[in-house]
Symmetry: C3
Subunit: 346 residues, 3 copies
């Protein structure tokens, strides 16, 4: 089973194309990528984290992209291959690795099995895979790719160059910008969780808003983004959401913010730009987080954050026996503190 | 792109239809809804939370539904538009907003692409969208709507007036009551997680039960509800589950309970009526929670709850530096408590 | 609606087939299974947990599988039915219950609606259900079952005897071993969450690896397993994942490990063999967990674990008022500890 396409690039060609320094024989041919430890001849690896520097001596990679400092110290590191020199070796590697990524064929055209509403429009150069439904008044723009099994409901837009990998659902009133990438199982534009208790029964509050996704956003597998109750749920440009994230109705996420898997944001929260939200972190509704805030994994944000910085909640991991003792004491903590501070119990 | 259908209702007509008081010119025409801050002429807004009262002075909404107290104080609040007066303005708004909700066309009939087992029955007035499968002995009742891409396995019932928005999977032995609403990506009736360790390998325990969903329940996008091991997993009537909730096998959830996104309930837990479970909260298996219990977000319920009330676990959010210090001390908490209480370490 | 097929087995036949002891009339006919409390005549129940021993007296089950001790004490327990005697009654029950599990008909062959790339291969005796896509160079091996609505991308393998229940997505370079079972909504082989910040924007790092799933693994509904960045994400044999679990790129999970619903594992974590990970537990990236580690529900593993045993984090559940007081004190914990230990504040 071919794992990588039959691409070949010389070290010289890579250095020129990506404006990198070159140390060693530029004629060496690269056919794929690998890790420092796992790569073989004909492969490109990278060194970004100094922790892996000792692996340079033994790597079988033909070419390694690294920082200038590492390239200068080849006598110390014992690296005998060809070095490509980059200011940011990881970013340079990412760009070069893209050359070796197998791309599924997505020829323009609409698969004959599709069910497309007569009022929908699909650009001539868009690809629409098998078993895809497109609803009333929706628009698929130039170069967009809809993999198999997608459902695009009414009044949606898939912007130019966007890609729904497969089995993505845009329920209704979802507008994607350009170059948005959505992974399988994601559901955008489902009803927000709006309920009013009325005479002992739940009354559903209609969800009349939509979802707006900015350019260059990426949405992970099985992530859900509800549409707004009245106004829209909004992701600004270049927001990156990992898998299984839940975004409630009327949330707004600022540009360039990234969230790791299983994070959850309740309705009407506003998150700033360049934030990093750790895995399975929770953000309560109707609060605001300013720009450049980092939330560590599994922390719960229960009030607004006005200062950039890193925030956490929870406790550290312990062996269960010790944890039980300490957790039992947590229930007495206020009482203990009163003893220490000499205040009588209220 | 039309965001709302061409509905028009006068303030007088709304007041009569929903039994509301009217202050001002009842002939004003309403074409849609908005927030107090965002609505324009021809739109209906609401005031339920006193926090938003200051917005009354500046709202451009033609009509605002509000409580009697607010309607009486128009000189103070500066509100110059038409007021609809309701005992519960939010519920009244929810009912009126439904008039302006665009409804996708779901004409009765079965899309020709569908794959329906000959032993299944589909009511004449049900709608079955494209690329839907219906298995052996399953029954789709009157007025039910199955959007595109649904999979209904064997021995299932979709009750009268129920709606599977799109791409919903009912695996096997799932029986929905009337007017149940299920959002895309939800999976009901998959195997429960039943395993026995046997000679160093996992042995699968067959999951022979089903899932029973009561009338008027709502199930969010990508939520999963496993079928029972022997008996059924049960949601009583009017249970409301948000997105990405996990319900283990043989769980029972009482009527009118609502759970926010990403909550998880382990097998055989029994949850009472009128409970509210916060986002990403966890409930361990084989325990009981009585009626009218509130669990706050991300709390873990690890033993049965016998008294109504609000329950929590976890710690508050801190800047990471302070958190690290305090979390380190948590690991010494039992030792510290012994010091305070003067007991020697065991 | 028939809940169980028309199978019949006598107690004698079951005893012989599964090498169990028999006490009582072996000619009694069994048509299905039930719980001790819920079973009726003609049904088989089991007693594994001593907590349920009192139910033996009143059970209406015709046959109960139990341990030798319980079988010996029928005068004490008041059990009057037929006993099957097993060393491990739960495992014996699991094996017998499988006889009564209704199996959907999955005849060999490819449904005419499917969209299969000409370079893919499907074994003659495999079943491929409606609306399934199979991509380039993928291989469906002997006896494999693909339920309706599955998507198998390029360069995938579905090993012999494996079953994708319905609506499973294998994105690309996913190789399943033999007898793997995957539940609806699961997504394997989506892009890992690889990003580099580059001049103020996110740069996507290509995800060139695949996913390798060992023999006899089971993957729950709506679980996601990303493909590796360079090398593969790997589950060894007999790994059991419940619903809505997130496995990041390049994670490796050892044989026979089981994880409960909503657990999340970040990229490049290595988990040992025979581990048990509780519901909604989190495991940070790039760490190692040795064999036979138990993580309790909703705990966060933030550093490597080198010793087998049970580990926990978090705090216990309290009524909200007490919790608020204690959680407030947690924020002063370092200060309090310094007071107790007599050290001045740094």
């Amino acid at each position: 089973m071919p794992r990588q396409p039959s691409n070949m690039h010389t070290a010289t060609a890579l250095a020129e194309r990506f404006a990198l320094g070159l140390r060693g024989d530029g004629s060496v041919e690269i056919h794929g990528v690998g890790t420092l430890a796992g790569a073989g001849p004909g492969q490109l690896a990278f060194l970004a984290n100094p922790r892996y520097r000792p692996q340079l001596a033994d790597t079988r990679a033909s070419v390694v992209v690294m920082g200038e400092q590492d390239a200068d110290k080849s006598s110390e590191t014992g690296f005998a291959g060809v070095a490509l020199v980059a200011k940011d070796p990881y970013a340079a590697f990412a760009r070069m690795a893209a050359l070796f990524e197998p791309q599924p064929v997505r020829a323009p055209g609409i698969h004959p099995s599709c069910d497309i509403d007569p009022s929908a429009t699909v650009a001539d150069d868009a690809h629409v895979g098998a078993f895809t439904s497109i609803g009333a008044r929706s628009r698929i723009e130039s170069g967009a790719v809809l993999g198999p099994g997608c459902i695009v409901g009414d009044d949606c837009v898939v912007g130019a160059g966007s890609e729904l990998i497969a089995r993505v659902t845009l329920v209704t009133r979802v507008r994607l910008g350009h170059r948005v990438r959505i992974h399988p199982g994601a559901v955008l534009g489902a009803d927000g969780f709006g309920l009013a208790m009325d005479a002992g029964r739940w009354l559903k509050v209609p969800q009349l808003g939509g979802v707006v996704i900015g350019d260059d956003c990426e949405i992970g597998a099985n992530t859900t983004i509800d549409r707004g109750a009245i106004e829209d749920t909004v992701l600004e440009e270049d927001v990156r959401l990992d898998n299984q994230i839940q975004i409630g109705h009327n949330v707004r996420i600022g540009a360039h913010t990234a969230m790791a898997g299983c994070a959850a944001v309740a309705g009407s929260a506003k998150i700033g730009r360049y934030c990093l939200v750790g895995g399975a972190a929770g953000i309560l509704g109707h609060l605001e987080i300013c720009d450049r805030v980092v939330i560590t994994a599994m922390s719960l944000v229960s009030s607004s954050i006005r200062e950039p910085g890193e925030y956490s909640s929870g406790t550290g991991l312990m062996d269960n026996r010790s944890w039980r003792k300490n957790a039992a004491r947590f229930k007495q903590l206020d009482e203990l503190a009163r003893k220490i501070k000499g205040k009588p119990k209220q």
